[in-house]
């Protein structure tokens, strides 16, 4: 039997913490996996025993101290705990992508837009064509040749 990749499934299943699709998947797995069934049974038994244990009130000072310690840090209020390593990895990748996108956008704004090479090639070709028998000027691409004229028309 192939077990679910995440071994927190039995515990989460007993606690009722699995998502619907994960729960259905795990229930299908349980039907054919005695090992997991035993694991779930053991966890349920432990949970039941713990529920039956006698309850005594905690000292007030200890309760106040634990309450302080168990208060989540500020960042945890905004970023909920990952439900599994898989979700954590996905979140991390998304964050990295967002940072990279922001960096690229910021760089494009900072760097001047590039200009096309063709008009420069045309200007060079026009200079190189002044020869006893011009080579460059004879067979440049039409686009390049036209560009040389267009640019000169823009000269100032």
């Amino acid at each position: 039997m192939i077990h679910p990749p995440d071994w927190s499934f039995p515990s989460a299943f007993v606690d009722g913490a699995l998502a619907d699709d994960e729960r259905v998947l795990f229930e299908e797995h349980l039907a054919g996996c005695a090992e997991c069934r035993n694991e779930v049974a053991a966890l349920r038994s432990l949970k039941a025993r713990l529920a039956e244990a006698p309850r005594r009130p905690l000292p007030a000072a200890l309760r106040a101290s634990w309450a302080r310690r168990s208060r989540p840090p500020l960042w945890r209020r905004w970023i909920p705990p990952a439900r599994s390593p898989r979700w954590f990895a996905a979140g991390l990748a998304t964050a990295a992508l967002a940072v990279a996108t922001a960096w690229v956008l910021q760089r494009d704004v900072a760097a001047p837009a590039a200009i096309d090479l063709e008009p420069l090639m045309a200007a060079h070709a026009a200079s190189a064509a002044e020869r006893p028998m011009p080579v460059s000027g004879f067979y440049e691409d039409d686009a390049v040749r036209w560009a040389s004229y267009n640019d000169d028309a823009d000269s100032r």
Binding site: D116, M133, V135, A147, A153, S155
Partner: protein, 305 residues
């Protein structure tokens, strides 16, 4: 005197005579630099080989003198396509599909004497050999650069007309070469002056502005400054400095924006460097190593003169 001695003497005299009839290679090239001695017309084929493949084109040529010419480029169907006319210091490009023309001034280049001096110090000319081009007797010479990374050329010169009837340029990359060759050439003393006329609707060319900053007058490998100019393209001011060694031309461009290099460049080498607030783009059909060597000598900071 024995018969053998007489025959030997005659052979020697014939050899000396033949040698005397062979022109000096340098003198041939110099005459070609000076331009045609008389008007001519003909038809040329232009072929270019590069990694991208081979391209060919045909053109009819009418030349009155160095600055008065008409090139009619032919379409694959043999009809006249675009036309280039040079006359009175202006070159016009006529669109094939319409009458609208573009024009630009023909820039005064270095004097033939200056160009020849430069050429001599940067190239070696081989001894001429006899050949035929366009059914005419020509002399063929090889022009070999003294510095690595520059293209070499072979010229086929019609000594009587002072015209290069064929020219083959070999790039530093063995896959790059260009060939311009007359397939028909004839003297044309009575060329119709209307060949060099252009409709008045063509635009008046604007004169080039000087660069406005000092650039090196000379660079390594025998290059000297030929011209500087400033023009506008894509909303950006471009400053161009053109250097020549008598045969190979190198252009330095200064822009305040980078230049997008990821385009087909044919046989051209292009190098770009970012220095201070400016981008320098260098273009030539020499090797990239040659351009990087020239770049290394280019000053970081150009000041106004």
């Amino acid at each position: 005197m024995t018969t053998l001695t007489r025959v030997s003497g005659l052979l020697l005299l014939a050899a000396v005579g033949l040698r005397a009839a062979e022109p000096d290679g340098g003198a041939l090239v110099r005459r070609a630099f000076e331009g045609p001695r008389a008007p001519y017309q003909g038809e040329i084929t232009i072929t270019h080989w590069s990694a991208a493949g081979a391209r060919a084109e045909e053109a009819r040529v009418y030349v009155q003198d160095r600055g008065t010419y008409r090139y009619e480029y032919l379409t694959p169907a043999g009809r006249v396509g675009r036309v280039v006319v040079g006359a009175k210091g202006v070159e016009h490009l006529l669109k094939p599909e319409g009458r609208r023309a573009r024009s630009k001034p023909i820039q005064p280049a270095l004097s033939p004497d200056k160009e020849w001096t430069l050429f001599q110090s940067n190239y070696r000319v081989s001894a001429p050999t006899r050949d035929r081009v366009a059914d005419r007797a020509v002399w063929s010479v090889e022009l070999t650069p003294l510095t690595e990374g520059k293209p070499r050329e072979r010229w086929w010169v019609d000594d009587d007309a002072g015209v290069v009837l064929a020219l083959r340029r070999y790039g530093p990359d063995p896959g790059d070469a260009s060939m311009v060759r007359f397939v028909r050439f004839e003297a044309a003393p009575g060329l119709n002056p209307r060949l060099f006329e252009v409709a008045a609707e063509s635009e008046t060319p604007a004169a080039d502005a000087p660069a406005g900053v000092d650039a090196p007058r000379a660079l390594p490998c025998g290059f000297v400054l030929k011209r500087d100019r400033r023009f506008q393209t894509q909303g950006v001011t471009v400053t161009q400095w053109t250097y020549t060694d008598g045969l190979t031309v190198v252009s330095f461009f200064r822009t305040e924006k980078p230049v997008r290099l990821a385009v087909p460049r044919g046989r051209m080498a292009v190098v770009q460097e970012h220095r201070g607030p400016a981008y320098f783009t260098v273009i030539s059909d020499g090797s990239e190593a040659l351009l990087r060597r020239l770049c290394a000598e280019w000053p970081d900071d150009l000041r106004a003169p």
